[in-house]
Subunit: 149 residues, 2 copies
DNA sequence: TTTCATGTAACTTACAGTATTACATGAATT
DNA sequence: AATTCATGTAATACTGTAAGTTACATGAAA
């Protein structure tokens, strides 16, 4: 199953932005991410609607964080990305008439809900600040390392 | 994100097989599932390799359960399907050089592992027998209902 | 020998994330 | 005012995977 890596990607972008003084252009962020500027804009546009980042056009323009690192959790970003489904497994038929399938959906659904709830609960506990702290710790261990990608 | 419904589908098939006296052809199962016989064969072939079902060719041939309903869990079937990934979310880069991405992967990875472990633990607790019992209970409530699809 | 059913390769379809191109919009520089 | 830089966004193509389909080979029972 192909996986959705937008959350992973946008976290990478946001933390790079946190390390930069001043705005970052979608082109420079795309270089770091080894992807296309339009992909960056598309993803960050969603975050802007949730007030997580700001953008400015023209000379000296680009993207900035709009909130304190402490106040943003992975869950907030997940929501800003449109709350994509977190599970790769699903029901064959969502509202089956077959009683067998109803029993199957019911049992699997409980397991799915528990796993999804756990994952989202974990996401709520992880802030951008905690990721940034972890990054700076890795920098200290690996002295002289280049962090710009 | 498109979801993998093979586990859901195969459970449906296996429980129908449990209700049938004698072998079931892939064509009859495909009718119940409103899908193609080849899809059924493809999925059941994996289960046969794990000893969960048996197949016979020719007249009077078809598919049979090879194990007791009590002894087969959703986890066993999940494995027989090739242990597909259960999460729709993933890392952008699996082994990043960037320290920021390493911090991101580490934090997200822990949450992913916890959620996946919980889901698989739940799967280990659900047997075909428990699903069958749930089905027969639904039959009793819904008297006269047709369960063949 | 015919019929029935599995076994399997090859191909097509459907879908969503990702990537790319092209051009419009708007702000700062000159 | 013209140029340059950067975002905004539509349109399109690429990619990987589950699912569906076609075609034919294999083997067992009638």
């Amino acid at each position: 199953m192909k996986r959705d890596s937008r959350l992973s990607g946008v976290l990478h972008v946001l933390l790079h932005m946190a390390e930069i003084d001043g705005p970052a252009t979608s082109e420079s962020l795309a270089d770091m991410m080894q992807t296309n500027p339009v992909v960056i804009r598309r993803i960050l546009a969603g975050l802007r609607n949730q007030g997580l980042v700001r953008s400015e056009k023209g000379h000296g323009g680009g993207w900035r964080l709009a909130k304190d690192l402490e106040s943003v959790t992975l869950y907030d970003i997940h929501i800003a990305l449109g709350s994509p489904g977190v599970l790769a497994l699903g029901h064959r038929t969502e509202a089956p008439g077959c009683l067998i399938e109803q029993a199957v959906n019911n049992a699997m659904g409980e397991a799915f809900n528990a796993a999804e709830a756990l994952l989202l609960a974990r996401f709520r506990e992880i802030t951008l600040a905690s990721l940034s702290r972890d990054f700076h710790q890795r920098m200290q261990v690996c002295t002289g390392s280049d962090h710009t990608s």
